[in-house]
């Protein structure tokens, strides 16, 4: 018979135990620990990206129509969360943070729900003049490119400017019509036709989340 721990046992008897005395001594989680979700409703634009990427289906929202606009309550059920931080990674506006707080103890189910409410104002209707301009802008270069016209003059002249309502603008000189932006758009506001080389934005649907701009491999979308 072999007793490999005899020395260890005797020496440990006369030395300090290696316990972390937790309830008496507070312990802090590692810097990038993914704990309780902190939601900042003022930053949220209701792009629904977080709900789309959540693998546990922990993120839900309710909409309540009010005079000021849609009153949206987004709630995170920590009892359903896998703490994968996908929502945090995909949130373009930094509204979701996974904190170092690991004390998620509850006696009732409501204790585990983190939620935030914000009012989303309807799109400003006076933005009618730019509306025809937006489809017109991409249309012009398409027409200009087709005859193999003056590239040098067309590209700088048509360089798009960011819009004041925070919605995306396409730079036709850079765009290759790869359709990634349309596929990434959580609201389904973009339609890109590869063959016809068109890029159209449905402004009523767009929430201005910026996912298309972040996803564009050519940086052809400006917010």
């Amino acid at each position: 018979m072999d007793f490999p721990f005899v020395k260890e046992a005797i020496s440990q008897l006369f030395s300090k135990p290696s316990c972390a005395m937790y309830p008496a001594v507070e312990s802090i989680a590692a810097p990038r620990y993914r704990g309780r979700i902190a939601f900042d409703p003022t930053k949220c634009i209701n792009c629904l990206m977080c709900e789309r990427v959540c693998c546990g289906g922990a993120i839900t929202h309710t909409v309540e129509k009010t005079e000021e606009g849609d009153k949206i309550t987004r709630s995170f059920n920590l009892g359903c969360c896998t703490f994968c931080a996908h929502c945090m990674d995909f949130c373009n506006h930094g509204a979701i943070q996974l904190t170092q707080d690991y004390h998620m103890i509850a006696t009732k189910e409501e204790d585990l729900i983190v939620s935030g409410t914000f009012i989303k104002k309807p799109p400003v209707k006076k933005a009618v003049p730019p509306k025809p301009a937006a489809p017109a802008a991409p249309a012009a270069p398409v027409g200009a490119d087709a005859p193999g016209g003056p590239k040098e003059t067309a590209a700088p002249a048509e360089a798009p400017k960011p819009r004041d309502d925070g919605k995306p603008v396409q730079d036709p000189a850079k765009c290759v019509y790869c359709t990634i932006c349309a596929r990434k758009c959580p609201a389904g506001a973009l339609t890109v036709d590869r063959a016809a080389k068109t890029w159209t934005l449905d402004e009523d649907v767009c929430v201005g989340c910026g996912t298309c701009a972040a996803a564009c491999p050519k940086n052809a979308i400006i917010m």
Binding site: V6, Q12, L13, P17, C19, M21
Partner: protein, 339 residues
């Protein structure tokens, strides 16, 4: 007559009997748990933890399985505890003896079996298959411990008997008295293998760590205790603790009885007379006995627990019938030749 009855009642209920067993037994088992934890780099539970466990179990609901025999199921733990308390009455505390004159080593051998039997009967009465497996394992464990234990006791009896000229001396009181006059048996060369063998028997007899195949909580749900809950379970846990006290104090009386002589001399040197001297002797006896029991628990139970992993049942059997029995036999042969 009534005074006599009250005295014996006090013996049974208070001093070497129930209350003493309850307090020291649970305290020893708390010290054991603390020491094991410290040897494993842990802080460990408070020393009073077995008391908390016992009282908590008293406050729990007792579920009686439908398949169980109700009377046997509830009475078996009490029988086991009673057996141990009686055993403790027969083990002298150095110069103090409650009932030792009527009982000898053979009675102690019988009484040592009662807790194991009670746990087997109680477990068997539940009708649980886990209890069945635990029961067969417990039986083998008891059987394997018994042979070296008998050999050790025989060696001691022969040694004392040869010295006092009675052939074989089975009286524990005589054994302790001999040691008080002639020094502890542990100091005799021929008794050292027997003492080592007895130390090895202690964990097996109390069912503590490497030999706890019968109560393996991780594989057979604590075997015979699987169906027990509430107060009966608490009584079994108490019996387990008291058994630690019984085995360690038996070791002290068999091999370290000479210390009692030292205590008597000390009290004599203080120059006290009459009742005061007697009371002081008993007090010192108990304190010394308790300290020795703690040391023995630390060496034979806690230390062995911390450095070993659980043995299989056939390994237990083989270990006791070869290594430990051989040690005891060496001692017996040496004692027979008068060494």
């Amino acid at each position: 007559m009534i005074l006599e009855a009250v005295k014996y009642l006090a013996y049974v209920l208070i001093f070497p009997g129930f209350l003493f067993c309850f307090l020291t037994g649970l305290l020893l088992s708390g010290i054991d748990r603390k020491l094991v934890a410290r040897m494993q780099k842990r802080v460990g539970p408070p020393i009073l933890q077995p008391f908390y466990d016992f009282f908590k179990l008293c406050g729990k609901e007792t579920i009686i399985p439908a398949a169980a025999n109700r009377t046997v199921f509830l009475m078996a733990p009490l029988v086991g505890l009673a057996g141990l308390v009686v055993l403790q009455l027969f083990i002298p505390v150095f110069s103090f003896t409650a009932f030792s004159s009527v009982a000898d080593v053979i009675v102690i051998l019988y009484l040592l079996l009662i807790p194991a039997l009670s746990i087997m009967i109680g477990g068997g009465a539940t009708g649980s298959p886990y209890a069945g497996v635990g029961l067969s394992r417990e039986m083998v464990t008891v059987l394997s411990c018994e042979l070296p234990l008998v050999l050790v006791l025989l060696a001691v009896c022969k040694k004392v008997g040869a010295a006092t000229g009675t052939g074989l001396c089975f009286s524990l009181t005589e054994i302790v008295r001999y040691q008080m006059a002639n020094g502890s048996l542990l100091g005799k060369l021929s008794m050292i293998p027997a003492a080592v063998a007895f130390l090895m028997v202690i964990p097996g007899e109390t069912g503590s760590h490497p030999f706890d195949a019968a109560e393996a909580e991780t594989e057979i749900c604590e075997g015979m205790l699987a169906e027990y809950s509430g107060a009966p379970l608490g009584v079994y846990k108490l019996s387990h603790s008291v058994k630690i006290l019984s085995m360690t104090s038996l070791f002290v009386m068999l091999f370290l009885g000479g210390i009692g002589g030292g205590i008597q001399n000390l009290v004599l040197a203080l120059g006290l007379a009459g009742g005061a001297a007697g009371a002081l002797t008993i007090l010192l006896d108990v304190i010394v006995l308790f300290l020795l029991c703690v040391i023995l628990t630390a060496v034979a139970i806690s230390f062995v627990h911390a450095v070993t992993a659980r043995l299989k049942i056939e390994q237990i059997f083989k270990y006791y019938w070869t290594v430990v029995s051989a040690l005891a036999l060496v001692s017996l042969v040496l004692a027979w030749y008068g060494l």
